[in-house]
Symmetry: D2
Subunit: 474 residues, 4 copies
């Protein structure tokens, strides 16, 4: 049979993420779950031996997919064959006791989700640290702020990066809350009533509750759902997909803006050390990685649609019209966000600014951006407001027209104003306005510092994040 | 000009929600914002008189749309005309000082969003209380649990409702967090650097920060963004739309399940007092309101797509490719969720169960659901496991076939088993199994109570919610 | 590295579809394209030898991925390594002459798309034939038509199937048009101006145009785009994804309705020969395949979102923010629709109806559905319209109430009417109404026949379709 | 009650589109339908008088919403009150004979859809003509083609416009096919079996079929569905929404590219006659209308999601979970595409190019774009290929670096090459290459002409389209 690989996993996601969702990773998660159940059962007095648990734990990582497949060919039952394999490896018995198949599959999937969520949470912190470093580096570099893609007012490049960084941080805080609260379905049986577990404990309600809490804690869940059906509510998958999409939004806007800046040669996503543009076209530094980030965001949007298509569509205690959908989008949305973050950090590591071109652009637009200041100063110096307004407008419009028709190359508005007697400001006066104007970036630096301080706070919780390095990207 | 009304607002949303987003509501929100700025400016020593503030406050609700339009025809500037109107009404001056137009429009929209979020938060609590009451009412009514739309195991009707209720509660908790954290863009000027405000305070950074905090507090925001551009990040709109969609998911599944139950005549969404089915078709109690709930959920999904299309698409410090989109979906997503919740509460108020039909269905499926118990008892009574299994299977398959071919009308599996000597169980033994089986709903009741207890906790924070009554629906 | 397979491809899609999109399939498509270019170049007088073309054709299917990778390790250039491999195999030269890399990649992808479109077009015909057969089989079987999931009026089961079949046929006709018109981007060079090809033909515009037409014809395209940029317009991918979604809509509704019918035991998706329900639960014939069909439709919706996210987002002559997105959704949407159709045909092959249960349901609802007829007949027999209406309503409401409260099990409305003197109709009169009513399916049969006739027309164009058999599904 | 207007309709859509969907427009469509039924009934021998038809036709446009509402307050039945109003106005009887309420509502909605489709079809032609005119105007203006937002190869501005025009034309052809085939549901009765009509004609099947055909033809439909249920398949709404989205994609990319070009001051969307930029910021020509076009495209995507959420979700013969959804998105998607096209044509009427700036950009990038030509010429002149390559690369990289660091302002690569003895080309030789290079736009002009010729073909079918003028936009 033709082998078609999962392109998101193989080309873009990290090894760590692939490991979670690989066939081996699933087997291991399943075994972790069985062990967690055994421990909880033992805690609550069921006849489970410590030795058996130790034996199971010792062979947890011995995954032999061929052997399992071989068993399945005989038993024709997938769960049974994996139970047998695990028991034979451990030389022990007793896993899967009192469980239905959904007790296994739902919770195993949630365990994979939880592990992925945690991986992404930390990698996002790494990305925010990288954004923060770049924001700090360029905190004082004035740049022409644009609205409607047109020059509007000065800001700093670092502050621009902090703007997208704060958007990501905002999403991250919501994401962090989701991860902390993410609840397991728990051992609820065929339709959710915990009938089998209740029978296992001869009707002891308190023990049934306690079992689940211990089970969840062993696996790392903070919460367990109280009354799910056969399946956990699919709006929980939606919440995950939505949080991932929101998390990718700040990076997507950052990447889009860097693509725009590259078009003006103000900055680029940079090259790997040693790399140059193609020899034929050295000017052509394509923002391929930034484009890729924006691409991942579109992919996440599609996966969000899939998740949204399942939420609110539960029939009674559950059906599996969601089955094929979740097989597809659940791993894939983690591969996509993982690829997005890997690419983002790579860009942040490599990106370059061209301060000289940035400075040129500032000079080009500054006179236009400063006309209100000129007006104010002219009025102070004695011109009537109406007159000053009229004169400035006249020259500004003419300058803009001359630039667009290439009559002039440099923005000479201030020269024209200096030469017009109706405006009682000298060349020196106007130069001074220009000098101050270039630095009129308001609170940009303070805002950047404030963002960096918030990232530093987050960083404390994830000490390993600052040294994170992405895999090499294709 | 033909007047086309907003159908979501006019047909489905509540008066309270329409008020927020009406032209008058927007004017009032804008005035609240101007007053909040004045107060903050006064707090920080700018020359704003308490009298002026009082005057503005006293005319806040005097909204005359014609008069404003009249002014706009003269000034040809919308903001200016509203400033003039407000000042003339108050006989005072000074609003909009040190603000750019985005300082006004972005924050006003956010104020409308915040007010809507709070309205929905409380209305959702009312809905959860109504769910909780129904869950309590039916907590002990056994019902045939279905998976894959096919009978699977017994549960209770109250527990089924609690299942969807818990899904909603899970979403509500995330929603509540969002509402609490929802940050204002603040007074950030043209590209976000707060240049104008900084100039207003002669470069006093601390005062600029303090102004915003006071401004936000006066309006009821808990947080202010630190470094947005011309606009607040549009992924925040996405977070709102997504939270609304998630909030609607539990209700959508509940409504879908009630539509399914109505098809089996187990329950219906009920009629208004005095209402009957059409005289020609008294059997035809259409689940129109439940269908409508599911419809609203689809609408919210479309609005989510619009919000998702803006997130991650910011160019530099901002553009307004989002403008027309937000004009459309932002009010509409609140009208949709409002209509959904109004309809949901109406259904919860009116819904009816048919316990006799529910009981019939239980009896019809129970023998099939209890075959594992019969097997266990037969083995206890001395039959070999293999034999018992074979015999039970033989009769079960035959019974199912006879039901499908209408050879029998009632499920007589237990009669067949009683009559088969290979199974050493008497009619009485089997009847006893049936009796116990009908009550074998595991932890259903305890789970229902646990859900109700959690809703009761939430209710404490929103004491008015329990007496909420929806507007009459069309 | 952990191998993560593409789950849609490996679990659900057919071998034929996997072949198209497999690494080998891509290599072969690329070689087909190179050969098509060579032929067109030769046709137009460029020095390309017939022998070389023959040599290339003879080794077209000899794909050795390892050898290509080996070359790539040396050249570090993917296209170059594949050219070398092909030339070495053929012992010839000259492929890729006058082409840029996008001339290759865009057209190769389109070739894969075109092949997939054709495969799906024919498989859809097979599905419609299968629908048509089932419609014919059940064309005269009366069934209770439902609106709002509640009994409304009689129809036939065959007509219900034809209803969904017609929805599919409607989509298929649009799909067929799309396939017929699907245009190749053509050999347009780096930004679309055909500069290189024009140089190759020394400025001979007519030959440039002719070359493309021949190239496209050799590959099976009916049209070539006139003025694309670096890439073909991504709204074309959207058109494809959208057509696939529409094509899946009729099947999705059919599957959903079969899931509903299974819940009433009117019908089921059936079992494979020899298969029974689980021994413990013989009643439990889960509609897993129908659920899967609905699941595929949700997946297609997500892929549609991805395609929609690229359409309308072209910057200048093109960028590759679409690259990662298309790598993901383009093959996957074909795997999804392929899986949907394979599953659909499997269901159609295996599905079962339970005429006895259908008959029971009819009898249960028929009296309610026939009250207008009774009214008419009572009026003819002399009762006043008002009186008759009142009496019928009184009994109908009471009967419905008694059924819901299980006072009666069978719908005895007509018995009650027969016993009421105010209605001058005898038991016999009413029985006659009931008999006629059961057959009052209007034009259902004629409509079914009309649908079948249209499918038969389509079938003529695709003679192989009627013998198509799906792969065994998991 | 607060009046909330439909913002898409009131602010953006044309009067013609509002008219179709206004309350009055709906009444008129309904009357058209009743008249069409009467005519068809008369044609087929039912006792309908020509006088009655004439009377109804004569009052068709007398719509008095208050009077209808007054009647509804009495009858409490909306359809009945509209029938009464129509009959009283006409002094005639007999409308709505043999029809169920869905026969009315489904077909009326489809009639509104069909009218909207036709309006959009013609307005799209107007837009393509406007695109074509601009493409013709700039067909020979060389411009720097960009891929990845970076200079790549020369094209012409007219050809760039033709590129987006062709994308629109491609979508239009599919749209045109959809409009031509758009089928009415027809007079099918409660569950689609045409029972009532069949009774009306005493079982004459041929007449039932004939009636529908005549009915449809009177209303302007080319086709009637054969076997719909209570409702027409909702995937037909999806096909409409999808076709509108595709139709907007070319315009959206065009608008996005114009926004990009405005950022480089190569072009702008222009101003209304007499309009200038704000006096303070004359440089600031915001691309508000282009942003709006892109915004409409996002709205259409959301509406597409709503339509997609209904397709494939039919239960049995139909339900109305679609009702509220269609009330919202069906008119709105036409208001959105209408606003998009109105805005697009406005932009096309007003847009401006700055040829001098375009020329500057060409000169800036041309030397880089021509290095392969220099290489070729250098080799012809006797340098070794390797040497030439190395030298050119050295200077190109250095020039790019010097531009980015602002060491040089003008691209002086050719000066450097002229000064390097290793390259045996003189200043004159290099200038000649530059001159030719500026004109090396390949087939750009021919491609533009071909596009224009295709638009001219379409124009013939819609002679009024070329004189279409949009409403003034806000």
């Amino acid at each position: 049979m033709e082998e078609i690989p999962n392109v998101l996993a193989q080309r873009y996601a990290s090894g760590a993420m692939r490991e979670i969702w690989s066939p081996e990773g699933r087997i291991i998660a399943e075994r972790d779950l069985w062990i967690a159940v055994l421990k909880a059962q033992k805690d609550l007095g069921l006849p489970v031996s410590a030795d058996a648990i130790a034996s199971f734990e010792s062979v947890r990582d011995q995954v032999n997919l061929e052997s399992i497949q071989e068993r399945e060919r005989v038993t024709r039952h997938d769960v049974k064959s994996r139970i047998e394999e695990f028991c034979d490896l451990a030389g022990a018995e007793g896993v899967h006791q009192g469980m239905t198949s959904r007790d296994l599959t739902e919770n195993v999937e949630q365990l994979l989700v939880l592990r992925s969520l945690r991986l992404i949470r930390e990698k996002s912190v790494a990305a925010m640290i990288a954004l923060s470093k770049r924001a700090a580096q360029y905190r004082d570099l004035p740049i022409t702020g644009r609205t409607h893609n047109v020059a509007a007012q000065a800001t700093t490049y670092g502050r621009r990066i902090a703007m997208f960084g704060e958007e990501m941080l905002l999403a991250w805080e919501a994401f962090d809350t989701l991860v902390s609260r993410y609840p397991a379905r728990g051992l609820k049986g065929a339709v959710g009533t915990q009938l089998d577990t209740l029978n296992l404990f001869d009707g002891d309600v308190a023990k049934v509750v306690e079992l689940e809490e211990r089970f969840a804690k062993h696996l790392g869940f903070e919460q367990v759902l109280g009354a799910p059906g056969q399946v956990y509510p699919r709006s929980l998958d939606f919440a995950v997909a939505s949080a991932l999409y929101q998390l990718g939004s700040g990076p997507a806007s950052f990447a889009r803006t860097l693509r725009l800046m590259a078009g003006h040669e103000l900055a680029s996503e940079g090259f790997l050390p040693g790399q140059v543009g193609s020899s034929a076209m050295p000017h052509k530094m394509n923002s391929r990685s930034c484009e890729r980030i924006d691409g991942f965001h579109v992919i996440l949007r599609g996966q969000l649609t899939m998740a949204a298509g399942l939420a609110g569509d539960q029939w009674n205690e559950g059906d599996v019209s969601c089955s094929v959908v979740r097989r597809a989008f659940l791993p894939d949305c983690f591969f996509a966000i993982d690829g997005l973050l890997e690419t983002l950090i790579t860009v942040l590591n490599q990106m370059e600014a061209n301060p000289a071109v940035i400075e040129q652009e500032n000079r080009h637009y500054l006179p236009f951006l400063l006309t209100t200041t000129v007006l104010m100063e002219a009025v102070k110096a004695g011109t009537g407001r109406e007159t000053a307004h009229e004169v400035i407008k006249e020259h500004a419009v003419a300058t803009a027209r001359d630039i667009r028709s290439a009559k002039v190359r440099e923005n000479d508005l201030f020269v024209r104003l200096a030469n017009d007697d109706r405006i009682p400001l000298s060349s020196e006066d106007l130069d001074a306005i220009l000098d101050r104007g270039a630095k009129a970036t308001g609170m940009a630096t303070a805002q950047t510092d404030a963002f960096n301080a918030r990232v530093a706070e987050v960083e404390k919780r994830f000490p390993g994040a600052s040294s994170f390095q992405p895999d090499a990207i294709l």
